[in-house]
């Protein structure tokens, strides 16, 4: 482990990358200028290339490993989409370029809006949210704007099932709401009685995903929608799990009023080690006036343009300086156009096939399913409660040991309501051989857990580092390299 700073030597430069000379800035008042240069690394171009190339090899990724991270839809990211988005004509376009010079990119975005509407059963789409959580923010802000537009100011509460992703409650709070959690039954469905009790004139809306993060389809969704609507609330669909049902069922048809999609999941745009993603929002008729700007419009002559507050005066506004993560949207457009009607209709079906197959095979080799009576959606949960109790190994130990076997770990300890759980999402782009190899690894680790639990507790054994001390990381904060203080060379 060497930091780029540790390759640095005062006065070295990657000279090909900067202007050949440095003009004096004599016209600028001295007190506005920097007196000491920042201690950025001073390294050669080869050192940079070598450092970051070597670092990259320390990552697991879809391109190198099976990555069945539940709720994250780690499927193949087509290289063609990357090629397209990296076309110089796209990359060099300034966000404020004249619309005459931007008809190409605008037409892609417009078509993407239309395809997303069709796939979700919604009436309007805005592509501007930069990720799922920002889509949630936009959605809840629209719910708020809706109630306010009707002068319905009593609604201060958002209902959220306990299984929900952390962004849902966090978003509700960012939008000024309080959160009330709704319990989930042992079969994975929402507790309808509890829901009914919770609903009231203070209810602004309900946020949920379907299939839920329990990996099962909420069967009472029609009923839930009726109840929430009857109470005057709106239904928010967290589209992180849209992959499960793409082409099969549409949130709009289930009764949802507003949703976001994670294009970096369902539409196969790469996660980039943490982003950028894209979280477009779709809305039912009654929320159309509130969509965040900008949106792409098209007039009768087929001329595209950005619509803003002049066109959508009741908009909740802008969510970022420009137009969202266009480079990501172009990749999603590529994906949608390539799959087209037939391909898109298959996504949910095969994502479910892989999940159900893997679930059955894991059950067969001895793992306990969280919802054994249910079909898996695109993902499913196993619980290692028994193994933890009898052998003293945790879900995290399993996760770490999987890394030694060359598989990225599933999501651990989420959803919170299932003890010692692994949330497993294989996605539709993995082959049967890969799934079978994963089952073999899990089986073998389970044997190890029985015979030699310490092997799991000490895992991983084969990676660049052994298990890391999180507690120390948080206690003795080291967030920033400081010159002269380097811990190691």
């Amino acid at each position: 482990m060497t930091l780029i700073f540790e390759h640095s030597i005062k006065g070295r430069r990657a000279s090909a990358q900067a202007p050949l000379v440095r003009p004096e800035c004599v016209d600028l008042p001295k007190h506005l200028l920097r007196s000491v240069p920042p201690e950025l690394p001073e390294v050669s171009e080869l050192q940079v290339v070598r450092h970051y190339t070597r670092l990259s090899q320390k990552n697991f990724s879809i391109d190198t490993h099976f990555y069945p991270l539940g709720s994250c839809t780690m499927k193949y990211n087509p290289r063609g989409a990357h090629r397209a988005a990296m076309l110089p004509g796209f990359l060099a376009r300034h966000p404020l370029a004249l619309p005459e010079h931007s008809q190409g990119v605008l037409s892609c975005l417009y078509d993407l809006q239309e395809m997303l509407k069709e796939l979700t059963g919604m009436k309007g789409v805005s592509l501007t949210p930069a990720a799922g959580a920002q889509g949630e923010f936009a959605g809840v802000a629209m719910i708020r704007a809706y109630h306010q537009s009707r002068a319905d100011h009593r609604r201060t509460e958002i209902l959220i099932p306990t299984a929900a992703h952390g962004t849902n409650p966090a978003t509700a709070v960012m939008c000024g709401y309080t959160v009330r959690e709704i319990p989930v039954l042992d079969n994975g469905d929402v507790d309808l009685d509890a829901l009914q009790l919770a609903l009231g004139p203070q209810t602004a809306g309900l946020m949920m995903t379907n299939p839920s993060t329990c990996g099962v389809f909420e069967r009472q969704i029609k009923k839930i929608a009726e109840l929430v609507h009857a109470a005057g609330g709106l239904l928010y669909y967290d589209g992180a799990n849209l992959n499960a049902i793409l082409g099969k069922v549409r949130p709009g048809d289930m009764g949802f009023d507003v949703l976001h999609m994670n294009l970096h999941k369902t539409f196969a745009t790469p996660h980039g080690g943490g982003g950028p993603g894209s979280g477009p929002v779709g809305v039912h008729e009654r929320l159309l006036p509130f969509l965040p700007i900008p949106i792409v419009g098209c007039n009768e002559d087929g001329v595209y343009s950005w619509l803003d507050e002049r066109d959508i005066p009741q908009t909740i506004g802008r969510l970022s300086a420009f137009m969202g993560n266009i480079g990501v949207l172009l990749r999603a457009y590529f994906y949608a156009r390539q799959l087209g009607h037939d391909g898109l209709l298959k996504v949910g079906a095969y994502a479910s096939l892989n999940a159900n197959y893997l679930m059955h095979r894991l059950k067969d080799v001895g793992f306990k399913l969280a919802y054994p009576e249910r079909r898996a959606s695109h993902e499913f949960i196993i619980t290692l409660e028994w193994e933890a109790k009898h052998w003293g190994v945790t879900a995290m130990d399993f996760a770490k040991r999987l890394l030694d076997y060359g598989f990225h770990a599933p999501t651990t300890y989420f959803p919170l309501l299932v003890p010692e759980c692994l949330l497993i999402e294989p996605t539709e782009t993995e082959s049967r051989a890969e799934l079978d190899a994963f089952v073999e690894a899990m089986k073998s680790i389970r044997d190890e857990a029985r015979d030699n639990p310490q092997l799991l507790k000490d895992a991983p054994h084969t990676l660049p580092v052994r298990r890391l001390d999180d507690v120390r990381a948080a206690r003795e904060l080291d967030l920033c390299w400081k010159s002269g203080l380097s811990g190691d060379k």
Binding site: P37, Y357, L479
Partner: protein, 453 residues
């Protein structure tokens, strides 16, 4: 056309092992009446066809000479940056939750945090928010959390802050009832200390200070910072990171330095790409780090006491703290952040200073040439690398005519602010050689002459 690897036999045998005949049965828990109708979607295409389509749509914008800025800046991006960042190991990894299998991404983040802390003169920088504008909203919300005493907090935002940053700020923070107060500018395009005094009188919790401001103008940030902080106001610095190679870092503004620093790292190796993905950053003092939104990586040790990296202080984040998190942000702009890290490594302090200085120098050259043609700046104060010029004719036809000549000539300020009617915001960077500056000045003079005649 799909990326599904199964053959028909695979599918059949997999279904058999689940005990089903057809894959539709996988959906038998879903009420039949919910089944999707026939969908109107385009036909499948292969990669060749979509690439041909998109190559046409991309066009040749890259060949135009770009004099536009206003929040998005065209700089040279070293070829190595996206060659490396585009490697599958970086591009197709998830957020590094499994630290041991993500040391690559984690170390890049740690290095980014370090570089940005140095550039801004702060202790800590997070590993990205969506962009500068939403980052500004996060910064203001964070500043308010640091200001617990203020019950109904007022946030002072000069109108020299980019209008779309102000709009974004408003749409986000207004959800929580935060009040934004806009402050005017003087004839120099700067914040007059007297305006600030007036606002302080009304009581305020946070001041946003943009340096340079959206017209390129530099303010006397030392004085303003001291003035605000003396009144108990938190100062949020909004900066262009390229400029920080030359300009005083916010950590050193005034006596105590700005409290928070926010901005968009787009100029550091991120392509313009019609407006995104860019990458916001937010830096603070160590004592405020528990209020910082977004991801943070810490250096720690493994079981063998070897150094390694891991996400830390996750109790700030939504996946742990849920409703009590500092922000709802989850997926951020990781890859763009990695690109900025590599960019900064390649440029170093001296390289970045050259980029900044040449960008500035080109604006001096342009100003000189335009003034010689009778076109003078709207504001007299010193600028970094963009400036509003007052045209003798309406801006829109000028933009059109310049476009005909292959120039993206700038941004029409009148469409954002009536007071800036006839104002053309022009930006210069190191991408433009002196010859381009001369061509531009000559073309602009001609175009204006044509329009006038």
């Amino acid at each position: 056309m799909s990326y599904i690897p199964h053959t028909h036999e695979d599918e059949q045998s997999m279904l058999r092992s689940i005990g089903l005949q057809h894959r539709d049965q996988l959906f038998d828990e879903i009420p039949a009446e919910l089944a999707a109708p026939a969908l109107d979607l385009p036909e499948s295409l292969n990669e060749m066809q979509v690439l041909r389509l998109l190559s046409k749509k991309a066009g040749h914008f890259d060949e135009r000479r770009c004099f536009m800025g206003f929040g998005a800046y065209a700089h040279h991006i070293p070829a190595a940056v996206w060659d490396i960042v585009g490697r599958g190991e970086y591009m197709t990894a998830y957020t590094p939750y499994q630290a041991e299998a993500s040391q690559g991404t984690l170390q890049v983040i740690y290095e980014f945090q370090s570089m940005m802390a140095m550039l801004t003169g702060m202790d800590v920088c997070n590993a990205s928010v969506y962009d500068g504008a939403s980052g500004l909203a996060e910064a203001v919300l964070m500043a308010l959390r640091l200001q617990k005493k203020h019950p109904n907090p007022r946030v002072l935002v000069p109108d020299s802050v980019h209008p779309w940053y102000r709009q974004t700020l408003r749409s986000i923070v207004s959800q929580q009832g935060v009040q934004i107060c806009e402050m005017g500018h003087n004839a120099q395009g700067q914040i007059d200390p007297s305006y600030l005094d007036e606002e302080i009188g009304k009581g305020a919790a946070v001041l946003v200070l943009a340096q340079p401001n959206c017209w390129g103008v530099l303010d006397d940030v030392d004085h303003l910072t001291d003035q605000a902080q003396k009144a108990g106001i938190k100062v949020v610095a909004l900066v262009n990171p390229t400029s920080l190679a030359l300009l005083k870092p916010p950590g050193a503004w005034g006596t105590r330095g700005a409290d928070l620093v926010v901005g968009d790292a787009q100029p550091l190796g991120i392509p313009l790409s019609s407006g995104g993905p860019y990458v916001g950053f937010l830096a603070c003092r160590l004592e405020s780090v528990r209020q910082l939104p977004g991801r943070l990586v810490g250096r720690t040790v493994d079981l063998s006491m070897r150094p390694g990296f891991t996400l830390t202080l996750q109790a700030r984040e939504q996946h742990i703290r849920r409703a009590k998190a500092t922000s709802n942000i989850c997926t951020n702009q990781g890859l763009a952040m990695s690109a900025a890290t590599i960019y900064l490594s390649l440029l170093g302090a001296e390289g970045l200073a050259r980029v900044a200085a040449v960008s500035h120098q080109r604006m001096l050259e342009l100003t000189r040439l335009l003034e010689a043609s009778g076109i003078s700046p709207f504001f007299a104060a010193p600028v970094f690398h963009e400036r509003v010029f007052r045209l003798p004719v309406p801006v829109q036809p000028v933009l059109q005519a310049m476009a005909q000549r292959g120039f993206e000539a700038g941004v029409d300020m009148g469409s954002y602010d009536v007071a800036l009617q006839h104002g053309l915001l022009v930006c210069t960077t190191e991408l433009l050689e002196s010859e381009d500056i001369r061509d531009y000045a000559q073309a602009l003079a001609e175009v204006i002459r044509e329009i006038q005649s």
